[in-house]
Every structure is written in structure tokens, then in C-alpha cells.
């Protein structure tokens, strides 16, 4: 088992990083008066861990016995029926699903499937009416219509069903949905917190940690706990006992982007642009999301630039990323950014050195 899963805190009491949030959530549940919740925060900050721990707190250990179900729903949409395939993760008490998987048909999921699930009210052994929890991931990726549909569902079935929404940025969730939930912000753990977690894992595994080693991993992790733990485990596999100056392997795609960045800075010509295109294609084929490629590329380029150029370059990065969102083919926009950068940089070089 990966350490990331092995050392995932199972209950709210064992949470190390977001102790205050966990305590508040616990209070929330003990009053048995749970509102709809919206968790938001950057990736790797522990949203999912908290949600799972919360469910356990609510329903006891049986909430962890989940089974994966792949079901095809037939949705009647007026003139035709639409088949929607949806993977859900369900226990007796909760259902977890990813409504944005359905792409542009997400509206039907919200209108039909979630409504259907929300309507059914579970009854516990004592014959009391319980409530069901629906965990919806990536609500920020839902279309506007789907979010509109969600708002009424949330009100209408609030007696029998609680929604736990989970997303990266709450800007993309409409106001109407946000105002119906208790918003819980999960920030990325600080480097000290990451160090604390790594040391905890090290102790459990019986590892000798040279001083400063955990801090270095934390620094490289960009404040993502998941990444830090994965990197830690990789280091363990590569070399043990640790030495304090052991190299922490970077992600290979990041290496690759940094290579692209130095290529671009070295030479600005159509020929180089062509080569860069090949490399970017390589990244996209390996399923690195285009916006992450662009962001990383900007990050690498900014390291190599003078202050006045930085402003200009980050403006164009934002500009092309926005266009990428509106358009269809990401490669065009990344390439446009690269070309734009080349032209700015070349102009700068000519102006400075003649």
C-alpha cells in the first residue's frame, strides 16, 4: 500500500494538519444537525481525507466499506433517451460521484440521477429516518445549467439528503449554490506541517531521518502534502539510509518542461518553435493537463527573465490560458504563447544588445 493511503487519517481525531477544521467538523456532526457542506482548497490539501473522516464520524466504520458501481442510467430527455454511464462509489450511507464526468450532459445527472438518489430516504434498523450523504466531486467543473439545477435539489430534499461538495476553486461555483452551503476552506498545509507529517511517517516506518531532509522534501512539494509523501516514498525506495544531501527526484514532466523553457530562451526561431511543438505534444499525449503545462512553463521562464519582462510574459500567459479555456485545441494556444514569448524576448535582446 502506498504511504499516501496507509497514513491517511481515518478519524477526525487523528488528523494532523487541519486540526481546527477537524474539531469544528466534529462539533458539527455531534450536534447531528449537518448542513450542506462545500469544501474548497488547492489539490493535495486534504479535502478528501477530511470528508472521509467526517463520514466515518457520522456513520461509524461501515462508511468505509465502499463498493464501486458502474451503472448505466437511462434518462428521458423529451424526444430521445440518453444513456449515461456513471461510476459511483457507494457505502450504505453515502454515495460518491463525479457529475462532471458526463461532460456537457452533466445537467441530466443533476436533474435526474442526483434527484433520484436524493429522494430515497434510508431507514435505519430502529426504523428511524436517517439521511443520506451525497458526495459530489469537482463541482467547479459543472456547467452553469447543472449548478442551477442543483440549487433547487438542495433545498427540496434537504430533509433526506445532505450534499457534500468538493472543488478546487469556489469562484467557479455559482453564488446560489455557495450560499446554500456551509463553506469550508481547506488551505494547503504549510511546510512546517508537511515536515511534521513526514516525521510522523518516518517514525512509524522506523526510518532514520537526517536533519533537514524532510524540510527539503517539503520545500520541493509546493505545499502539496500528497506530493510530499509520494516523493518521500520514492526517496525511500531509491536510497536508504537517507543521506542529508540526497537528491529528491523531481517529476519527470517538470524536468521536461524546464528543458523546453531553456530551449526557448536559447534560440528564437521558427525552427525552434517547431521542435518545441513536438515536445509539448509529447507532454499532452502523456496526459499532462495543458493548463498545468502552461503554468509550469511560465514558472520556468520567469526564473530566467529580467523584472520588466516578467510582467509582460505573465500577462500573455494569462491571456493565452484564458483563450485555451474558450477554444478547443490546447496545443494552438500553448504554441501561440511560446511564439509570443519568443517575439518579446527577441525584441528585448535586440533593444538591449543591438
Amino acid at each position: 500500500m502506498l504511504w499516501v493511503d496507509k497514513y491517511r487519517p481515518k478519524t477526525l481525531d487523528k488528523v494532523i494538519v487541519h486540526e481546527d477544521v477537524a474539531q469544528n467538523l466534529k462539533k458539527l456532526v455531534t450536534e447531528q444537525d449537518c448542513p450542506h457542506l462545500l469544501f474548497y482548497g488547492p489539490p493535495g490539501s486534504g479535502k478528501k481525507t477530511l470528508i472521509m473522516a467526517l463520514l466515518r464520524q457520522m456513520f461509524g466504520p461501515s462508511a468505509e466499506k465502499v463498493k464501486v458501481e458502474n451503472k448505466t442510467w437511462k434518462v428521458d430527455a423529451g424526444t430521445r433517451t440518453i444513456d449515461l454511464e456513471l461510476t459511483t462509489l457507494a457505502s450504505t450511507y453515502h454515495v460518491e460521484l463525479n457529475p462532471s464526468d458526463a461532460g456537457f450532459q452533466d445537467r441530466y445527472i443533476v436533474q435526474e440521477i442526483i434527484k433520484e438518489m436524493a429522494k430515497n430516504r434510508p431507514i435505519d434498523t430502529k426504523g428511524k429516518k436517517g439521511f443520506k450523504v451525497l458526495v459530489l466531486n469537482e463541482v467547479d467543473k459543472l456547467s452553469r445549467e447543472a449548478q442551477h439545477s442543483l440549487r433547487r435539489t438542495m433545498e427540496k430534499y434537504s430533509a433526506s439528503c445532505r450534499l457534500i461538495l468538493c472543488c478546487n476553486s469556489s469562484s467557479k461555483v455559482t453564488e446560489a449554490v455557495r450560499s446554500r452551503c456551509l463553506n469550508v476552506r481547506i488551505n494547503a498545509p504549510t511546510e512546517e506541517q508537511i515536515v511534521k507529517v513526514l516525521e510522523f511517517i518516518g517514525k512509524k516506518e522506523g526510518l532514520q531521518l537526517p536533519s533537514g531532509f524532510a524540510a527539503r522534501i517539503a520545500e520541493k512539494s509546493n505545499r502539496s502534502l500528497r506530493r510530499a509523501i509520494l516523493a518521500f516514498e520514492t526517496c525511500r525506495v531509491q536510497q536508504y539510509p537517507f543521506t542529508s544531501n540526497q537528491a529528491i527526484p523531481p517529476m519527470d514532466w517538470e524536468e521536461y518542461v524546464s528543458e523546453i523553457a531553456s530551449d526557448i530562451v536559447k534560440e528564437q526561431s521558427p525552427k525552434r518553435l517547431f521542435q518545441v511543438r513536438g515536445k509539448i505534444y509529447e507532454l499532452l499525449i502523456n496526459c499532462i493537463p495543458p493548463e498545468i503545462v502552461l503554468k509550469r512553463l511560465l514558472f520556468e521562464l520567469l526564473k530566467k527573465l529580467d523584472a520588466e519582462l516578467k510582467h509582460e510574459v505573465c500577462h500573455w500567459a494569462a491571456y493565452y490560458e484564458h483563450r485555451m479555456r474558450l477554444g478547443q485545441k490546447a496545443i494552438f494556444h500553448i504554441e501561440a504563447f511560446v511564439a509570443k514569448f519568443m517575439s518579446i524576448y527577441k525584441g528585448f535582446l535586440i533593444a538591449t544588445f543591438g
Binding site: P35, G78, Q111, R151, K156, S179, A188, H311, R325
Partner: protein, 357 residues
Amino acid sequence: MAPVIQSSQQWVEKYRPKQVKDVAHQDEVVRVLTNTLETGSCPHMLFYGPPAVLERILTMDDLVRIDNFLHIEPELYKSRVLELNASDDRGINVVRTKIKNFAAVAVGSGRQGGYPCPPFKIIILDEADSMTEDAQASLMLCGVPWKLTPESQDSFSFVITSAGAFSDAFFQIIEPLASRCAKFRFKPLSEDIMTGRVLHICKEEGLDLDSEALSTLSSISQGDLRRAITYLQGAARLFGSSISSKDLISVSGVIPQEVVQSLFAACKGGDFDVVNKEVNNVILEGYPVSQMLSQLFEVIVGADDISDEQKAKICKKLAETDKCLVDGADEYLQLLDVASITTRVLCNMPLELSYEN
């Protein structure tokens, strides 16, 4: 053990007005409605207003149901009232079939079971602004034929409600449809009324709210009563019965002023790397960028040491960025862009690179 529900009801639902006269402070509307009742003739009605006063939307179906506002016998409710909202599919097809079929059957009047049952049906279309234009057009036409024959003249009546961001929701209702309806505009609640309502809830729930917290609540909820109540409930659940203004800020998702100020200070400093670090921090702390923008906007407009021209330039960028965010652009890049422009404007750096072209 599965949880037992005692007071699992959302406060928003719990304290929703139950009777027409309780409807929070929309006097004219209430008067007209009451009149309508007494005379027994009911025009098509269109309710609209900012989302703040949502109390009203559901009031309408509650009106029918709970208060017997329209004096329909409970058993007849199903056959007399059709309610559709955005969680139902409401394409043109539904209008053509479901609504039309429902409306086509005329009902008689007559007192049944002690209720003066009005001789028409009611169709409630909630959140009509999210209906497609086609559907609205066909809605309008489907209203016409039944109006032509005198005997079925009053056979049904639409109640259309439209919620949405302020008045633009109204403009999403197409003109010909709007002109067929009696329009009721619900105004945003004034601060006194909100405070009164909030205090009422506090009393009912046994909460302790000091005056500072109260003013914080009204400022963070921006006149939106539902939001205020939701925050209040959230804070009450998390922090117990005595609530301070800090607790309210932490549940509301408003960004603490220090964070905004430190970003602003970084922009003033003029060093790109410091700004970048600050932006990164905002993102990693998980603050929503749209919220950041609006708070940054307040800081910039309120600042005394910035010239009007500088303010204008920054605000222009803020507006553009807001649009980009709505389109789904990446938060980090957009905020960085804003911060970079702000830096350049504040430090009087040129916005365009001079050696270009």
C-alpha cells in the same frame, strides 16, 4: 448508528414566512395579492427581484399550500397546481406537452370542503430566467388559445418567478412574455428589516450576537437574507451559541483584510518576485480569487494615495479578469496578471513594452 434528525432542518426553510402577511416587507406586492384574492381574478404574474429576497419565491408555492392563500383545497392541489423549477427539464418539449396538457383541461369553480376554490389552475414556473428563449416563446403562444374562448378565459394562470443576479434576471424573460404578465418587483431588503429578522432568529434559537457581529453579518451578506441566515446557522453550529464577528468571517469565505492588504502592499513595493510569492500564497491558502478581486477592488477604490487615473487603469483590468474567471480561466494566472498590472500602475512603470512593434 445512523444519525437521528432532530433539528436538521435548514434555518432558511425553518424561518420561511408561512403566511402572506408575514412575507417580509414587500408591502405593495402583498396588497395586490390580497386584492387579487378577494376579487377572485388572477392575472398571469411575474415575480422578479434580486436573489436576496428569495423568501418570496417559495412563498408563492407555500402561499398556495400552507396558507391556502388561493383557497384551494389540499386534495385538489395536485390537479390544480403544476410546479416546475430548474431542477426539472424544461425544454421546449415540456412546454409543448406537459404544460399545454395541464392547461387544456378546464376546471369548474365551486366551493368544495369549505374552500372557495378559484375557477382556474395555477402553473408555477420557478426560476424562469434559466428557461431557454424557445421555451419561453412557446410558453407565450400556448397561453393564447385558451384566452380566446370566453368561457375558458380564466382556466389557468401562470405564476412565473425569476431569480437571478439583480435585475438582469428580468431581462432574461423575453419581452412578449413579460408583457402578458402582471409584474411584481420585489425589492432588496433594507438593513433594518434584515437586522430585525436576524435578531428574531437569534432569539428563537437562543443565540448571542453582539452588535459588532451583527454589523459584520449585514456587511458580508450584502443584503442577502438567505446568505445571512446560512452564515448564522453555520457559525452557530461550529462555534456554539455565542458568535463573534470573527467566527462569521471564517464561515462566510470572506478573505481576511490582512491578506488583501499584504497583496496590495506587495504590489506597491514593485518587486515582481514578491508579488508572485504573495499571489501563490493566496492560491495555496485556498481563497477564492473572485472574492479576492472584489475585496481588492474595494481597497483600491478606497485608497487615498492613488490618482484617479491609476485607479481607473486597475479597475479596467479587474473587470477584464472577472470576465476571464467566469469563462473558467486559471485563477493563479489571472490573479498574477492583475497583480502585475497593479504593480506597474502603482509604480508608474510603462504598461506597454517600449521596444515592441
